[in-house]
């Protein structure tokens, strides 16, 4: 929760959350290349 708009701490906290979310998005992309094809071409959904 925001205590004071636009202080330095908030800016850093925002950046941290954004980087985590961006990493999740990159993982999801990697997942489409690696994991899902493997599972789907042999395993769960033949």
């Amino acid at each position: 929760m925001m205590k004071q708009p636009d202080d330095d701490k908030l800016r850093k906290a925002n950046l941290r959350v954004a980087i985590i979310l961006g990493a999740i998005a990159l993982l999801a992309m990697a997942y489409s290349f690696v994991f899902l094809p493997k599972v789907l071409s042999g395993g769960l959904v033949p």
């Binding site: 925001m2 708009p5 959350v17 979310l21 999801a28």
Partner: protein, 538 residues
């Protein structure tokens, strides 16, 4: 001080207004200006996608091939869908998120204002790419025919397509990056920028709806980006992800596409459910029934929505186990969907209702979206879907889901917030005419498609057997009327922007009941910088 650094140096930024001229828009880091640009972009794309729909209905008015060739027809079917989904509904919802989320939670702006600028300005570039993909066969003769795969872009056809497909793939890349960045921004804003006292469970439903939407987008949009990238590699770099001749599998693309595609339909739906969660209590003058259940319901919907994708592919010959799993999962989804609709009905129960335009849309959504829920459960049943799949019945289902479920929700939002955005009340009489005109013509357009579909008329085909003629003529007439109604929509919006009765801070009697957020504490229209001092919620 230059606009780009306005947020680096906030101390003196509240005593200047917006910068003048084009710089205000091109360099904008202001959530309201960017929201406005998103909304105008969506409005433009509504007419662009709508024009393609008018062509489709004109072609289908009679059996036979009338206006152009089958490839062009399929190109229009493809780009109508891509434009409406990625160019219209998503940007309009994102525009509303930009405008309203900071106001509702008491934030001075979005968490990452410059990223916000980038998210928007990727869109016109992507739109240009899409337009190029349509023009490619004519601009570059000999580069292959039009993109004729439908919005699902299925290989092997999409591998055989001409250069237009490459433009489509790049457009999807840009649209994907845009919505991932916008989603990151929205989640960060909701987590970090709430005013003191604005706990998560106090947030208006619209904010929650966008929270889940953004999380869904972050999870599935990259999968689509990955899939179309593989497609690009198959087309140009000798890989064979989807090419059976090289050991790949075209079915894999379907899984990847629908792993994105089914959650995507909830991405389109949820923001409008969020708008409903404001509109219904406002005009019933009663607090939302089951706020917590709605929040959890949306969470369940988002999670379930990610594990049922293969109900779009029952006919590919999956194992019995997989088929059963996807069938049961899909039918389970009607539980949270039903719960939401019930909560809205209970909110209206014994309320003192009035029927302004947003409320009319709200009630119409509940009725007509339920209809899509019913046809959805029919489609979820495997043996039944073997008959319905790839017929006009599916087209009827998803237009009942998407037009009431997503588009009407956006219209409700537009009428609900126009007074806040512009400072003027819209003309209620015209709003009501627009409501009845769209609702009636929408039903004339899509109701008959249930029948032609059940009778076996296939979708995505330019011609049909003569026994479907009457249904299609009715559909086309309805379609033209539906298209025409949007000129009135445009007129109402322009009229409201240019003038009209002055809107008070709380334009609706039940505003504060509908959404106990902070947007109503600001004047209509709100000042260029919303909350220079963090408001406190008690």
């Amino acid at each position: 001080m230059s606009v780009a650094t306005a947020h680096d140096d906030h101390h003196d930024s509240h005593d200047h207004g917006p910068p003048k001229g084009w710089q205000r828009w091109v360099y904008s880091t202001n959530h309201k200006d960017i929201g406005t640009m998103y909304l105008f972009f969506a409005l433009f794309m509504l007419f662009f996608g709508g024009a393609m729909a008018m062509y489709i209905r004109a072609e289908l008015f009679m059996p036979g091939v009338q206006l152009a060739n089958p490839d062009f027809y399929n190109n229009m079917v493809t780009d109508h869908a891509l434009v409406m989904v990625f160019g219209m509904v998503m940007p309009a919802a994102a525009g509303m998120a930009n405008w309203m989320i900071p106001l509702m939670i008491g934030a001075p702006d979005m968490a990452l204002p410059r990223l916000n600028n980038l998210s928007f300005w990727l869109l016109p570039a992507a739109a240009l790419m899409l337009i190029l993909s349509i023009l490619a066969p004519y601009l570059f003769p000999g580069s292959g025919g039009p993109v004729n795969t439908g919005w699902t872009l299925l290989p092997p056809l999409s591998i055989q397509n001409g250069i237009g497909m490459d433009f489509t793939i790049f457009a999807i890349h840009m649209l994907g990056i845009s919505s991932i960045l916008a989603s990151i921004n929205i989640v960060t804003t909701i987590l970090n920028m709430r005013a003191p006292g604005m706990t998560m469970m106090k947030m208006p439903l619209f904010v929650w709806a966008w929270f889940f939407t953004a999380l869904l987008l972050i999870a599935v949009m990259p999968v689509l980006a990955g899939a179309v990238t593989m497609l690009l590699f198959d087309r140009h770099f000798g890989t064979s992800f989807f090419d059976a001749a090289g050991g790949g599998d075209p079915i894999l693309f379907q899984h990847l596409f629908w792993f994105f595609g089914h959650p995507e339909v909830y991405v389109l739906l949820l923001p409008s459910i969020g708008v409903l969660g404001l509109v219904i209590p406002t005009f019933a003058r009663k607090p939302l029934f089951g706020y917590k259940a709605l929040v959890y319901g949306m969470g369940v919907l988002a999670v379930l929505g990610m594990v049922v994708w293969a109900h779009h592919q029952y006919t590919i010959g999956m194992s019995l186990f997989a088929t059963n799993y996807f069938m049961i999962g899909t039918i389970l989804i009607s539980i949270p969907v039903g719960l939401m609709l019930m909560n809205f009905i209970f909110t209206m129960w014994r309320g003192s209702m009035t029927f302004e335009t947003p409320m009319l849309f709200g009630i119409a959504i509940i009725l007509m979206f339920s209809f899509a829920g019913v046809t959805g459960v029919m489609l979820a049943v495997v043996p039944a879907d073997m008959q319905y799949h790839d017929t006009m019945f599916v087209v009827a289902h998803f237009h009942y889901a998407l037009i009431p479920g997503a588009v009407f929700g956006l219209y409700a939002g537009v009428f609900y917030w126009l007074p806040k955005w512009t400072g003027h009340m819209y003309d209620e009489r015209l709003g009501k005419i627009f409501f009845w005109w769209t609702t009636i013509s929408f039903n004339i357009t899509f109701f008959p498609q249930h029948f032609s579909g059940l009778a076996g008329m296939p979708r995505r085909i330019v011609d049909y057997s003569i026994q479907y003629t009457e249904f299609n003529m009715i559909s086309s007439i309805g379609g033209f009327l539906f298209g025409l109604s949007h000129l009135l929509f445009l007129y109402i919006i322009i009229q409201t922007i240019r003038g009209g009765k002055k809107a008070p801070d709380k334009p609706w009697e039940g505003s504060q009941i509908g959404t106990p957020g902070l947007e109503w504490t600001l004047p209509s229209p709100p000042p260029f910088h919303s909350f220079t001092q963090a408001p406190v919620v008690k």
